[in-house]
Amino acid sequence: MSLQSTSVDAELAAPTPRRRNKVKRKQTGWLFLAPFALLFTFVLIVPISYSAYLSVFKNALVGGTSFVGFDNYVKLMADDNFWDAVRRVLLFTAVQVPIMLLSAALIALALDSRRLRGTNFARISVFLPYAVPAIVSTLIWGFMLGVRYGLFKSFNEGLGTSIDPFTPPLTLVSIGVMITWAFTGYNVLIFYSALKAIPHDLYEAASIDGAKQRQIIRFVKLPALRGSITITVIFSIIGTFQMFNEPQILPAIVSNSGITTHYTPNMYAYQLAFTGSEHGYAAALALVMALITVVLAYAVQLWGMRRALD
């Protein structure tokens, strides 16, 4: 009995080591989170909140800034230039992303097959285009695909054709080529890492079952890629929705390409904000674009998760 009372006294005198540890662990947790939390707040939360704040104002050259509520959003819904740009970017995504990811998956499988000579060289050289700055690559592609002095001139002369890669229907195709060239390597890297992470006992089990290479690919490798396919699809959608570099720089190099100042949503937002001084409208556009991207990315993620659970 006396022992009990002393232990109770002892407990009342100071918190038990267990409780002190719990508090310390919580504090340590916050400290670990803090750098990211601070960065996340200032780089993401604050700008988005500020954009939302800007988007309910209208900026006029005469009369300055005035509160207009959701007028900018209403105006955006009726804006032909915006929806034209969104359609273009959706079409581009629907065509370019599957082609790029298919190529990336094939290349990754080839690299992983261990039947390739010079795997390391192939891995690095496939990834190199990603390291080239977008502006530099656009300039070089613009020159290469030029029909007056570029490679395409020789191509046309050699084959007797007169294809101009930068005329309106083909311009998007040419941009697609540039973007696929630049980003396939990045996706190859993601797929390749996923393939490398496949546990070896799966391969052993497959060879015990007498599986051929084709069956190994179909039943071991491809399912392992499923998770990374979801990720790369999301990244690619986000990337193509934000397309800006190529259509912004090309008009300075090539003429008659059909690229307008509202060719993609990002270009339109840039034009509105910086040439037209309509910051509020541009902010509304950016937020709506972000919303569309988020919805699409979430849908892809749900689709990917459901497939994974099958």
Binding site: Q27, L61, R148, A252, S255, G258, I259, T261, T275
Partner: protein, 439 residues
């Protein structure tokens, strides 16, 4: 307890950071009342004109209390954006900023530029060519001082002309048209001029023809492309395009354009006089072949010019040191600094310089030792007055490309159609922005 103190700590850091940011901008404004030039003062000048820097040492010697810091805050459009941002943020506004002539009204009309009349700038009117002065005056005020000028002139390749059997440059637009046919007959690659939806080109033609499509009176803007003088220029250029005498297959300022100039298949350039500084780099193989001549005229014997570029400097409304800024502004656009800049290659609209024999006798081997400055000086003086830019011209020119592109790409449509659509969009935009356009 620990969590609370951590959150408190983070909040206080954020508050301190915000407070220092706010106070630094406040101290910028409060630092100098501006009038006292006995206090040493540093003024910031934004500009992409490389010759302004050259005028600084001479100024600082005679004005020991003023230090000048010339900063390239981007060129044209990038700088206007930065200036707009600075004005909106209320901090970082420079003391002087560079403006192309078409952007002066954009900043002056909403009151973002200081009226220089109070410093006595109105007395300088006769010291500049009328075309340049016209650009910096709005209503009763003077909002900038001209710092350089781009009279529209014709650069022609004598060698190519000789090949086509033409021994003197065209003096009238009818001659230009006939010469264009002769040049194009030399080969399918030969053209007298290029055009890819270049609004400055079309505008200089309209200007020279006497067209005044924009009428600006404060916030009232009137846009009309159907006046006879405007139509005359538009129809002329339409005919040139229709008959394939002008090439549309490459963009000006692109690599393709450089190469075409360089191989002699592009016979003329209707462009601003400032082109003398960059043509030698773009077409080195044509050294000795290019000459400068006045723009062709509508009637033989006339001497009407137009403008294609040029810039001025003004003092933003919230500039920290307006008085010191004006002293430097006057120095390098009107005073002793002008000659320094001219020696560096600047082409200025100051009448004294344009009449100076030493300036005019300069020759360049690239232009076959032609005294080309004489042509440029005459062209500057001949620039017809009465032209006004709409206050939202930057936006308008970017949209012009969008509208004109389908026509230049597919051939469907016409310049008239483009101008009509451009007028519609400008009207909608201008009214939306608070101006009264075509009402």
């Amino acid at each position: 307890m620990y969590k609370r103190s951590f959150v408190a700590g983070a909040l206080s850091i954020a508050l301190v950071a915000a407070a220092t940011a706010c106070s630094s901008s406040a101290s910028d404004k409060a630092a100098t009342p501006g009038a006292n030039s006995d206090q040493p003062v540093t003024i910031t000048v934004w500009g992409w004109d490389g010759t302004v820097e050259a005028a600084v040492p001479g100024f600082e010697k005679t004005h020991p209390n003023i230090k000048v810091d010339v900063v390239n805050a981007g060129s044209s459009f990038d700088e206007y954006q930065a200036l707009d941002n600075a004005i909106q943020a209320g901090s970082g506004v420079p003391d002087l900023a560079m403006f192309e002539y078409f952007s002066v009204s954009y900043f002056a009309i909403p009151g973002k530029l200081t009226d220089l009349s109070k410093f006595g700038a109105k007395d300088f009117e006769s010291d500049y060519v009328p075309g340049a002065w016209n650009n910096v005056v709005l209503g009763d005020g003077v909002y900038a001082l001209p710092s350089d000028y781009g009279p529209a002139v014709m650069f022609y390749n004598m060698d190519t002309f000789a090949k086509a059997g033409i021994d003197s440059p065209p003096k009238t637009w009818e001659e230009y048209y006939q010469d264009a046919k002769a040049i194009h007959a030399l080969g399918s690659d030969y053209y007298i001029m290029n055009d890819n939806a270049d609004i400055f080109l079309l505008q200089s033609l309209i200007w020279q023809s006497g067209g005044r499509p924009f009428k600006v009176d404060g916030y009232d803007v009137n846009i009309d492309f159907s006046q006879p003088y405007t139509k005359r220029a538009v129809d002329y250029w339409q005919r040139m395009l229709d008959e394939g005498l002008v090439t549309t297959s490459f963009a000006a300022w692109s690599d393709d354009w450089n190469r075409t100039l360089n191989n002699g298949t592009l016979a003329t350039q209707l462009i601003g006089g400032w082109f003398t500084s960059t043509l030698p780099e773009r077409a080195p193989e044509q050294k000795g072949n290019f000459r400068v001549a006045p723009l062709p005229q509508w009637k033989d014997g006339q001497n009407v010019g137009a403008e294609n570029g040029g810039s001025a400097f003004g003092i933003p409304k919230d500039a920290p040191h307006p008085d010191a800024a004006y002293q430097f502004l006057e120095y390098f656009t009107h005073g002793d600094g002008v000659q320094t800049r001219v020696d560096q290659g600047a082409f200025v609209p100051n009448v004294a310089v344009l009449n100076d024999p030493a300036f005019l006798s300069h020759t360049d081997a690239y232009f076959g030792d032609q005294e080309y400055r004489k042509v440029l000086a005459e062209a500057s003086k001949d620039v017809a007055t009465g032209w006004q830019y709409p206050p939202f011209f930057e936006w308008a020119r970017s949209v012009y490309g969008d509208i004109a592109i389908p026509y230049y790409t597919t051939g469907k449509g016409s310049l008239e159609g483009i101008l009509d659509e451009w007028k519609k969009q400008m009207t909608a935009y201008g009214n939306d922005q608070g101006f009264t356009v075509n009402k």
